[in-house]
Every structure is written in structure tokens, then in C-alpha cells.
Symmetry: C2
Subunit: 360 residues, 2 copies
DNA sequence: CGGTGTCATGTCATCGGTGTCATAAGAGAA
DNA sequence: TTCTCTTATGACACCGATGACATGACACCG
């Protein structure tokens, strides 16, 4: 592979002049520049980042660690996709700053994070991002040197800067929108409470009810999410069946996520209940494959993964450039409600009141 | 950041000895080794890959280019997931060989591939992999230096080594299995022919019919896949309606992919036809979010993305180590049929005859 | 016409490791 | 005892860029 010396020799100039042509850091005569450029293309010269990096002490690299490119031993989860969107956002932001991204994968095994971080440090990455597949708490090894790090879709108890979805607000906005549409009996089939998003969304649901002047009714809430997924459909069936037999049954079911909503569609159809004319359904995640493909299309809340990625990259770049003495703790990113046909408007909604709701 | 000289000074040895401890390329005395290791951990020393690379001329890097981490302007496609699995397979293989992966993204714009390849060459990657989001033909810029390159899920007309799904065999095996199950009128709702997989799968379908002694009937085949997706549901509805009115209607619908099958479920239910008791449905892709979550779970053909990734990495590593003067052209990877409850067994199947069929 | 500034270019050292070769110390053989 | 032969370690150059500094050629100024 050709070096800068080869180019210099062919062009009849000093290596430093070639360097100047490449980097444009000092004026170069027109004739000289052309000679150099001709030599470069003649030799197919590509400068070595390693050599440049040694001298300049800047790698232009960002390390990205994710847990879900390769997933846990049992890859039943549809995960991965969220992370992909986050990565997409990060990539988009980073591309503009001339940074190159290195991606490594823990294969879902947290212990693998340490050697991966080490690999990145060997490459002298200027920043690290850890992306989790769903909103959760993590415990990563401490980075001893000063390399900045940011967490996306997860947080720790050391106050490492983190970017998180605003689950509370999302569920709140959705339920507020349902209330605006005239729904007052709102069933909620929740995620299990161990998942970080579970309690947050439940709180958002309750807050929206409160703000809408509706009393919280525990009979309308059921956890239908199991660790192992086998019993889920049955659990859902029972919960829905029970709620629909109430003297004042729900007119809409909020589901913990879109995948659960997909199941609920099937169950309601099996029960002979038409969606949305007899009962409405809403999801969470805006998992497009499901939400847009279902018939009728699913009303849901967007998990703003791409935006989170963008924010993560921006915050990291700010830390790297040292502009800001970053305050610790999380940045919350809220996503809009996607209003589709799976929910009936019981009365005409005054949509203009709801700023964060997005109609399709 | 500490250097090898700092470590050497603290440990009271020469830098070269520290290097030997790190790389184990020559015997080092026990006491010396311990002094060095102590100094290393005392200083939190992490060796610089850049410096190492300069001397040894080996980067330990593999460049991966993908078109779908950030997708086309209109991100309605659920794409990305397939690529993720391919990347997972690549990562898995590569991790064992001590290679680190750099990932870059074209954002769906093919023209961006050239500068990304250039970035990788600057980093002196030892190999390149281009991953496409679906089976297609591509035209990438030629790599002028000798860096080996491999295509995954795509091919070009220069005979660049490629890893492709065996669409012909997959569809063939599925249809053969349907025939074994007693189906003789097999409807096929195809992908549009411009997609590489379309004609291959159609050929597989016809070959399986032929082998099963069933005459191909054009009335049972319809293209239901449009470039813009708007008319698709209607197209499907019409095709299904037409076929079901035939004097000898299909007992099973093969769908171009699982997403189409999801739509077909909805349509058949709307028509009041029960799946699978009245009519069976089969998909293609084994897109788990859909195939496993649908009720009843969907019989489909696995697109062996992970395996393709593994093969891609293996073939690349073989090219890098120069073991093999690689022959050009594609490697086909076949995936198994996943037999689930969306297809009725019209007569008891002798499954043992079908080696590549996987029961759940 | 000398002084001063700008432009264009070259010289040289250096970043942090490792390959090559040299060398000292002890072990075993003659 | 002396001569190999390992074993353990050091000295030194070098990989390919770039930063700091120097220099020569003009241009412009008073």
C-alpha cells in the first residue's frame, strides 16, 4: 500500500506538502497541488488513519455497545429493532461530525461489555454509547480513564448521562386523547412491573385519568405480561373476559405494547367483538410492522427511538468537545400519539387542544 | 493516557519487555512479568491499537456496510431486522477470530457507499462486507487495492463473492411439504417479479408441483405486491376472492412473505373463512414477530439470516487468510420450513421423508 | 532601498508500539 | 573447566503521518 512518501516522491515534493494538500491546513500552490493530486490518484493512495491518529491523538471514533444485535440464547423476542432505530439516529448525527462508529455486541451477556469497552479504549475511541434493547437499569464497568460515556434507553445508579423514553408522558398523552374522544371506562392491560416502563406508564395512565376527572378503577387494570410468554394469551383472554362482564365495561383497552395489542385483536375477534365498533384498542411502541399492518391500523404511542439516538449522539458530542460540564442524569424524550382507526371517537374530539397528538 | 514507556519505567524494565508480557511472544521471567502486570494495572494502561497497527501492518478490523440501519427517506418498511440478523451472524463468527467490526451505513443511498469504503480503507480494514436488506442486485464501486470483499444478501455482475438465501429451495420445500400434507390446489400470492426473490420462489413452487405430479394452474397464481403499498390489501382481497370462487378453489394460500400473510389472515377473517379449518395459509421469511404472534401461528419458511451472516464471515476470513484462492460467485444458504398451525394436514404426513422440514 | 509580512515549501522530531539483532546470565555437554 | 545453547532482557530503528519551526521568494510599505 502506497504511503505519503511514495506520493511525495512521484509528485516531486516533500511529504509534508502532500499532507497539506490532504488536510488543507496551509496554502499550497496550484501547480504543486495538481501534481500531488495526480500522484495520489495514480498510486491509489489512501492515507493511514493509524499513523495520523498517533500524531494527532484524535481517533475520530465513537464506540457503540449494544446488547441486542445478537440476542439472548432464546431469540423469541422481536427485540433488536428498537435498538436499530436508536443506532440509526446516532449514526445520522455522528455522520455530520465526521466521526466513524465502531459497533460491538454483548450478545445479551452483560459480562461481555468489559472486554468490548477495553477493545474500544485500545482504539482510543473519543466517546462510548451503550444502547439497551428496552428501557431498563444497567450496571456497566466503570471507565477508569476519562472517556465520556452515555447510556441510551437505559440508566444506572451512578448517574451516568442517559437518554430515556418518557413513558409517563406517552401513556398520559394517549389516555388524555382517549378521554377527549369520549372514552371514560379505559381498561389497561399492563406490562409486568419489573420492567422499567411498566410503573411509569401506569402512573401516566392514572395521572391522565385524574386530570380528566375520572376515578381510577382497579378492576380495569390487569397485568397480562409474563416473564415466560407461554401463558400470556390465556392471561389476556381471562382479563378481557372479566372486564367485559363488568356492569360498566371498558370501551377501550390500552395494551402494554403493540405486540400485546396484536394478541388482543385476535382474542376480541375470537370473542366475536368487532374492533373498533364494539370495543377500541390502543397499543404502545408504534411498532410499525404491527401497528400499520393490522386491520384496523392501531392507535399507539410512538417510542421515539430515532430521536433518542440523535439526542444521545448530540449529548455525547457535547461532552467530547468539552463545551459543557455536563450535568448528570437522564434526558427524557417524549414521542407523539399516533391516532389510527382502532379507537372510536365516541364524541367529536377537539384535536387542536392536544399539541403532541399526531393524526394520520 | 499512559504509554508502554510509563509502564516500563514503573516496572523497571524496557518497553520491549512490557510488549512481550502483553503479547506473550517470548518468554518473560516470573518476577519481571509480575512487576509489569502490577505497573499496568497501577497505571490503567491500555495499549494503543494505532501504534501497534503501524508496526505490525495488521488492523484486526473488518468493515461492514449496510444499507438499512438508517432506511430510505420513507421508513415505512419494517426492514432492517433481516440485516440485523445477518450482522448478528457475522459478529458471532468474527468475535472468535479476534476481529473488531466497524459498521457504517449508507442510509439507503448507494452513492454513499464509496466514501464509506474509503473511510474503511483509511482504517486499513482487512476485509469488507456489504449487507443488503433484501435479496437484490447491487453495483458497488470497485476496490482498487486488494482488500477482500464479500456481499451478503445481494450480488453483482462482477462475480464478487456473495452469500444468498436459497429462495428456490425454500419455496420448493414448503410446497413439497404442503403436498405431503395432502394439499393439491395451492394458491400462490406472489411478490412482484422485480424483486430477486420473486421469480426464484415462483420457480421453486412450480418445481415442487411438478415433482408432486400436480399441474401448474395459472389461475392459482397472482401478483399481489405493489411498489407503493397502498393498493395491496385490495389487490389481495380481489385475488383471494377470485380464487375462492373457482370451481376447484385452493385449500391453502402461499403468501409472498409473512407480512402479506398477516394481511391475508385479516382478509380471510373478514370474509368469514376460518384459518386453518376452512383454508390454510403459509408465509415466507419466518418473521417471528408475525409468524409466532399470529393466531394460529404461521407456517412459513425461515430466511436463514444468521446462518448467512456466519457463512459470510467465514468466507471472508478464508479470503483474508489467503488459504483459498476463492472461486467467485454466490453461496446459497437454505432455511428450513417452520410447520405451524396455520396449515391443515389433509392427510397424515410422513414427516420423516422430509429432511429439511422443522416441526415446532 | 531596507524592513516587514505573507506565501509556499522543506527539515526534523515525534506519536507508541514492535521487529531485529545483540548481549548477559546461567544450564548442560564435552 | 571451557564451550555451546537456551533463556531473559535490552538497544535501536522503523511503521506513516503531522506539529513545530525554519527558510526562501516576493510584495508592499514608507
Amino acid at each position: 500500500m502506497a504511503t505519503i512518501y511514495d506520493v511525495a516522491r512521484i509528485a516531486g515534493v516533500s511529504p509534508k506538502t502532500v499532507s497539506r494538500v490532504l488536510n488543507g491546513d496551509a496554502p499550497v500552490g496550484k501547480a504543486t497541488r495538481e501534481a500531488v493530486e495526480s500522484a495520489i490518484s495514480q498510486l491509489d493512495y489512501v492515507p493511514s488513519n493509524a499513523a495520523r491518529m498517533m500524531r494527532s491523538q484524535r481517533s475520530g471514533l465513537i464506540g457503540l455497545i449494544t446488547g441486542a444485535i445478537s440476542m439472548s440464547p432464546e431469540p423469541t423476542q422481536p427485540a433488536g429493532l428498537p435498538e436499530l432505530f436508536i443506532v440509526q439516529g446516532i449514526q445520522k448525527s455522528l455522520a455530520n461530525s465526521g466521526m466513524t462508529m465502531m459497533i460491538a455486541d454483548t450478545g445479551g451477556v452483560v459480562e461481555k461489555a468489559a472486554p468490548l469497552i477495553d477493545t474500544f479504549l485500545r482504539h482510543r475511541v473519543e466517546g462510548l454509547i451503550y444502547v439497551a434493547e428496552y428501557h431498563q437499569k444497567v450496571a456497566l464497568p466503570v471507565i477508569s480513564d476519562g472517556t465520556p460515556m452515555i447510556l441510551a434507553n437505559c440508566f444506572d445508579d451512578r448517574g451516568t448521562p442517559a437518554i430515556l423514553p418518557d413513558d409517563w408522558r406517552g401513556q398520559h398523552d394517549l389516555v388524555a386523547r382517549l378521554i377527549t374522544a369520549g372514552h371514560r371506562r379505559i381498561g389497561y392491560l399492563t406490562l409486568r412491573p419489573e420492567i422499567a416502563a411498566g410503573p411509569l406508564r401506569l402512573d401516566g395512565y392514572r395521572a391522565a385519568l385524574l386530570a380528566g376527572g375520572i376515578t381510577y378503577d382497579a378492576a380495569l387494570v390487569a397485568n397480562c405480561d409474563l416473564e415466560g410468554r407461554d401463558g400470556e394469551t390465556q392471561l389476556l383472554w381471562e382479563a378481557i373476559d372479566r372486564m367485559l362482564r363488568l356492569s360498566s365495561p371498558p370501551t377501550v383497552f390500552c395494551c402494554g405494547n403493540d405486540k400485546m395489542a396484536l394478541r388482543v385483536y385476535g382474542i376480541l375477534r375470537s370473542m366475536g367483538r368487532k374492533v373498533p365498533t364494539e370495543v377500541s384498542v390502543a397499543g404502545y411502541d408504534n411498532y410499525r410492522v404491527i401497528a400499520e399492518t393490522l386491520y384496523p391500523p392501531l392507535t399507539t404511542v410512538d417510542l421515539p427511538y430515532t430521536a433518542m439516538g440523535v439526542r444521545a449522539a448530540q449529548r455525547l458530542m457535547a461532552m467530547i468537545s468539552g463545551e459543557i460540564r455536563e450535568e448528570k442524569g437522564p434526558t427524557l424524550v417524549a414521542g407523539p400519539v399516533y391516532w389510527r382507526d382502532s379507537v372510536t371517537e365516541l364524541r367529536p374530539a377537539n384535536v387542536s387542544l392536544l399539541k403532541s397528538v399526531r393524526e394520520e
